[in-house]
Each structure stands twice: as structure tokens, then as C-alpha cells.
């Protein structure tokens, strides 16, 4: 596969690992942010190629791990309502809530379906007008535009039986939380390549400057990660703390998503991102309520103020 296979070349991987070993004079602790990057590191045993003095700490960049327990429980409660179809990415089905998981709820008769895309969930709603279809919309910034677009399309088509249970999170606040911890040992970050494909990487300069840590925006293939590690080690050895872009074949400074709107709440709050579209689209989004079903405690989207959207942190904050 083009733009995949060539970045899995074992001989080049060994060469980059050699370069890292030659450049490393002291122990360094690095963190990759994305779960997908962790997956690659594990799958290819990248850690085995690095000198012992490089320690890789795996970051919290997996929407599964960071989805609050209360939301898993909400999804389970929603799925159990007769007439509801809960559509979800496969990742979420085996995540335990406080007492059970979506597998078990499905075993009890609930209609829980795995989808590849939020648009597939919308199709289920379109094809089954008699059912209330709730999409479990998790993800970091990478997935938020896709989830938002499903909402936009639902509104555009007047599909009334589609709603979302939303759990979106942001990477920069997560990195700040880690760096602010008194016991933090991470000295450099491999930044989230696909998040930055959407968002760009401008917002990481403040973090690098404030905390004095280098951040290299990395891709997801083995050579991407090795090269990002090499660039981080070079910065650390030279005492630099800058933002560099290893994943330049996909990431530009401004990203592709544009128009990202952040929540006014701090840290782990939801964000709704809009594609690069008109203000009328943003207003249409604001009028669309997420999960306005009786007896369903789901998140609500509040009315937009100009191009700003606020998303309440919990259903209790909702004001339709």
C-alpha cells in the first residue's frame, strides 16, 4: 500500500535506530500521545530497536481509555431502551461500565451495532425510521469533524430519529495535565499526527514554550515514529524545546479541518468541530439538539453565539 509499506522498511528502521543510538548520550523519557502510535510501537516492537536509555511512556491518546465511566453507563442505559438502536465504533463495545458492557446489554436483547463511520449510523437511521438511532460519538479532534458532519447531514435531510451521545476530548489539555503533574517524567512528546492533520500544530507551540519540552508531530508507521524519536532526541541532546513536524506528508501548520470550535469548559470537555463551512452551517448545527429523547440523559448542544459553540460538560448543564 502506497504511503504505508515504504514506511515499514526494516532496513531503514535499523538505520534510524542506529542514528538514535549514536545521538543518545543520556537517558530520555518520551511519550507518544496517540493510541494508534502506541499500537504501531507494540506491533513492530520499536522499543526493542531503541537504546535502553530511551524510555517510552505510552500516552492517554485512546478515546476508549479516556471515555468517562458515566458515559459508558449512559450508552448502556440508552441501548437498553426499547426502540433504540445504539451504533458505535467497535472499540467501545468491550469497555466495561460500572457494572457491565455493551456486549452484555446486546446479549440481553438490546440493538447494538458496530459501524465504521458515523455516516453508517446515519444510514441506519435513514433506513429504519421506526427506530431511534443513537450514535456513540467518541474521539479526539480527528473524529470530531466526522461526527459533526453526520449531525449536519441529519439536519440537512430532516432525519429526526438520529441523535448522538457525545464524548469528545482534546489533546493539548491532556498534555498539559501530564506536564503539570508533580510526578511527570516525560521530557519529549511525539505529537498526534492525525489530530494535527485536522487541527494543524500551531497550538502546541505554547505547550513547548511553557513547559520547555520538545514536541515532534509524528505519523503512524514505524519509520515515522522512529524518525520522530530521532528528531526528539536531537532536540533534547541540544537543549531545544521546539515543535517540529515529522508527518509533513499529511500535516500542515493550519491543518485541514479549520473552524474548530472549542468548549469554554476546561480540560476534558467536549469539543464540537465544524468543517470549513459557512456560518449558516454553524447556526444550523446549533439548532440541532443531540439526544432530545424523553428518559434519555444525553448531552445537549446549546444555541450558538455567532460562530462559537459551547457544549455542556454534563446533561445537568443542558439548556435547550
Amino acid at each position: 500500500m502506497k504511503y504505508c509499506d515504504e514506511y515499514r522498511d526494516p532496513q531503514i528502521a535499523q538505520a534510524i535506530a542506529g542514528r538514535i543510538a549514536n545521538a543518545t548520550t543520556r537517558p530520555w523519557v518520551l511519550m507518544e500521545v496517540c493510541g494508534g502510535q502506541t499500537h504501531t510501537l507494540m506491533r513492530y516492537g520499536i522499543g526493542d530497536l531503541l537504546p535502553d536509555s530511551i524510555e517510552l511512556v505510552h500516552g492517554p491518546g485512546c478515546p476508549v481509555c479516556v471515555t468517562p465511566l458515566e458515559l459508558i453507563d449512559q450508552a448502556i442505559r440508552l441501548a437498553a431502551i426499547p426502540g433504540v438502536t445504539l451504533a458505535s465504533f467497535g472499540d467501545m463495545l468491550r469497555v466495561p461500565g460500572s457494572s457491565t458492557d455493551l456486549f452484555d446489554v446486546r446479549a440481553g436483547g438490546a440493538d447494538v451495532r458496530v459501524v465504521y463511520s458515523p455516516l453508517d449510523a446515519l444510514k441506519i437511521a435513514r433506513d429504519n425510521p421506526e427506530r431511534q438511532v443513537v450514535f456513540f460519538a467518541v474521539g479526539f479532534e480527528t473524529t470530531a469533524p466526522a461526527n459533526a458532519m453526520a449531525v449536519w447531514q441529519a439536519h440537512h435531510e430532516g432525519i429526526a430519529n438520529f441523535s448522538m451521545l457525545v464524548s469528545h476530548v482534546l489533546v493539548p489539555p491532556a498534555m498539559r495535565l501530564i506536564l503539570q503533574s508533580p510526578s511527570n517524567r516525560v521530557q519529549g512528546f511525539i505529537g498526534p499526527g492525525h489530530v494535527c492533520s485536522i487541527m494543524g500544530f500551531g497550538e502546541y507551540h505554547d505547550i513547548a514554550r511553557e513547559f520547555g519540552v520538545p514536541i515532534v508531530i509524528g505519523g503512524f508507521e514505524p519509520l515515522d515514529l522512529l524518525e520522530a524519536i530521532s528528531m526528539l532526541v536531537a532536540q533534547l541532546e541540544e537543549g531545544r524545546a521546539e515543535v517540529e513536524n515529522q508527518y509533513s506528508r499529511s500535516v500542515e501548520y493550519d491543518g485541514s479541518g479549520g473552524g474548530l470550535v472549542k468548549s469554554k469548559k476546561a480540560a476534558w470537555c467536549c469539543v464540537m468541530s465544524m468543517p470549513r463551512m459557512t456560518r449558516s452551517a454553524a447556526l444550523a448545527w446549533s439548532r440541532w439538539k443531540c439526544g432530545n429523547r424523553p428518559n434519555a440523559s444525553v448531552r445537549w448542544c446549546s444555541r450558538a453565539k455567532r460562530s462559537q459553540l459551547t457544549v455542556p460538560h454534563s446533561a445537568n448543564d443542558a439548556h435547550p
Binding site: 479526539f140 466526522a146 500542515e252
Partner: protein, 95 residues
């Protein structure tokens, strides 16, 4: 949050930007992908696809440049030469 796969745009359909879609080829596997976030994409381009959406257009020139650098590192190592201070940013094609 991160799984995105590169594919080649075979054809594009749809006038409305929100519904503009591409017929994407992934080494023989084909799927319709929403192109709302990559309005600059044309047939023949490569895109990164995440949950049914193209999240970026792959910059072929940039990909070629950075991979050439990586391949150069590999070639040097094969010759037993320790790769030095070169980085993708300052690397010279003639090196």
C-alpha cells in the same frame, strides 16, 4: 482516534460541499469517502481516510522528499556510514 489509511481518489461526485464524496481505492478495496474536509482534492490524489472521511490530502512532494531522506539514511547505513547531523529540513539531495 488515530486509525487513518491512505487511498487513491478514483472519482469524485456531488456538488454540495458537505456531500461531496470520492470513490477511493485502497489496493483493490474500494469505498465511498466523504471529501467535505478536503475540498482541494482531485481525482488521482491520495487522501488519508478516517471513519469514512478524508482528513487530509497527502502532499506527494513532501512525502517524496522526506522518504528520500529516510532512504538515504538507510543507504548510508548499508554502506557502513554512520548517519550524521542531517535532518529532513537541511538535507541536500546531493548528500
Amino acid at each position: 482516534m488515530c486509525l487513518a489509511v491512505p487511498g487513491r481518489v478514483l472519482s469524485i461526485a456531488g456538488e454540495d460541499p458537505a456531500f461531496r464524496s470520492g470513490w477511493i481505492d485502497f489496493c483493490g478495496v474500494r469505498k465511498t469517502v466523504n471529501l467535505a474536509f478536503t475540498p482541494e482534492v482531485r481525482a488521482g490524489d491520495f487522501v488519508l481516510v478516517h471513519v469514512g472521511f478524508a482528513i487530509s490530502r497527502i502532499n506527494r512532494e513532501e512525502a517524496a522528499r522526506t522518504f528520500a531522506f529516510l532512504a538515504h539514511i538507510g543507504a548510508l547505513a548499508e554502506e557502513g556510514i554512520t548517519p550524521g547531523e542531517a535532518s529532513p529540513g537541511n538535507w541536500d539531495d546531493a548528500a
